[in-house]
Amino acid sequence: MSVIAFYILTVLCIFSALMVVFSKKPVHSVLYTIFCFFNIAGHFLLLNAQFLAIVHIIVYAGAIMVLFLFTIMFLNLNAEVEPHKSNLLKVAAVVCGGLLLLILVSCLKGAENIPVNPMLDTQMGMVKNLGMVLYNEYMLPFEMLSILFLSAMVGAVLLGKKETK
């Protein structure tokens, strides 16, 4: 059952990810990205990580995508002035990407031999368990994240605010 769901989600996910790259209109790309994110959230659910799935939808599909749309609207996309890359560059990009793909595929081919850790708790993705780990073991990274946010906040204001005077 969940195998079928997995395949459906994966096909949809790859399809929408490809469409993000290939669609001509940037706004369509964003919509496909959102669709892709929903599929990934579905994957998270299959892995029994419900909190991650919800966060993925709220933060990524919701908030981050709004930022993407904003960015697209900042750019003046009326004029078709997109610079065309030379063919050599394209070939180089394809070769590099292909190599990375080759490496990843070759590594994941051997992945089924890795024994599944028997200690793995299938209920780890539940909000309650996640919270316990986050606020006990990962306390310091959590607090440091606040510094990270603060830095991002100051940065956003510093860059985004018009100079008064």
Binding site: I103, C107, G110, A111, L120, Y138, M144, I147, S151
Partner: protein, 441 residues
Amino acid sequence: MLAEIFSFKKILPVLVFFGLATALYFNFNDWSTYHSYFYNMTTIDNFSIVFSSLLIGAVIMWLLMAGSYYRDENKITDHLAIICFALVGGILMTSYTNLMMLFVGIETISISMYVLAASDKVSLRSNEAGLKYFLMGAFATGLLLFGIALIYGCTASFDLGVIAGYVSAGNLPQMFYVGLILILSGMFFKAGVIPFHWWTPDVYQGAPTAITAFMATVVKAAAFASFFRLFQMSFAGVAGWWIEILIIVSAVTMIFGNLMAVSQTSLKRLFAYSSIAHAGYMLMAIIACNDMGARSLILYAYAYSAASIGAFAFLIILINQLQTDHQDALKGLAYSNPLLAIFLAVILISLAGIPPTAGFFAKYYLFTTLISQGYVGLVIIAVLSSLIGVYFYLRPIIFMFQHSNVETKLKISQSSLAFFALVTLIIVILGFMPQLIIEII
């Protein structure tokens, strides 16, 4: 150690200065103790203490230097705050024992740097630098994170010790190696070495000079500290495998960085390429991968940071007063500002690695470490490329002693002259007594 975070708004630089000084004091308080805190998230040992002192010290020097750069009181508070956040990130990067902490530290320092690189809003160059740095940096962070995820998939732990145990148990799956490569690429980017170095010249040139100084010292030192720590503590078991990559990368980095620097006429760009070359040398310390390597890395990082902060301080003055960083601007400096010229000469000599300065002994110690491990070929390449380096570091000195029609006279205040004197003093002291640093751990 974290006290400096809270000195946040409407601070005077003085307050930050004292905050940093206290942080430094607390840092040394932990000397020779071995603690792990917060469920083994960070571990304070001598390596991390020496490096975080370097970072804090560099920020203190930076503060002394930046005082002249920031006339505008409005801006300095924001910048100082972000610098402090970046410092926190850097300290995390030197003392982590958990990949999660490494990631948070790298993110903190990187985001601060993206913002600061673009902070000169009216300059197109600065905007370009910020955007470029951000896009490439985000991509590199993605690679790093993917690598961490793959490693976690194999070992089921973020803890460096557990990973080391997993490595020594042998029989590693393919996935582990790919994770290792991806982590390696991410770290290469952050350290600015060869296949991932393209951002360095543009960002260094475009960013405001004071920020460039910060990037070249604090960020670089933190990147190398975390690099070394990660590979020594976790992946030493598979050293034979990644050392080959590192040898090639460091050799190419040294040659390329030095060769490219030769053809530069802009001093800022020259220092950018020379920082790539120095990154190549520091990679050699990671190849050594033992206590000797740690010591030579520390010595090198101290020598390099001291010299480059001095060099950038000079550039700030030059750009402020002449609006150019072309090397022709140096002509006749030895006659108009003899004292400044001498200090600058010492700094450049140290960067080139000529005795009796810190740069020489750092290089010397590094090379002997590697020779004792049998990497003779690499050392020969390193020596040859530093000979190229000598050429372009000495060229500005020659320029200083040339007469020119245009009399360039820089107005130097007493305090900044004292700052240069301090930098020179550090370089010379480290040059004569490198054991001060070497024998410390």
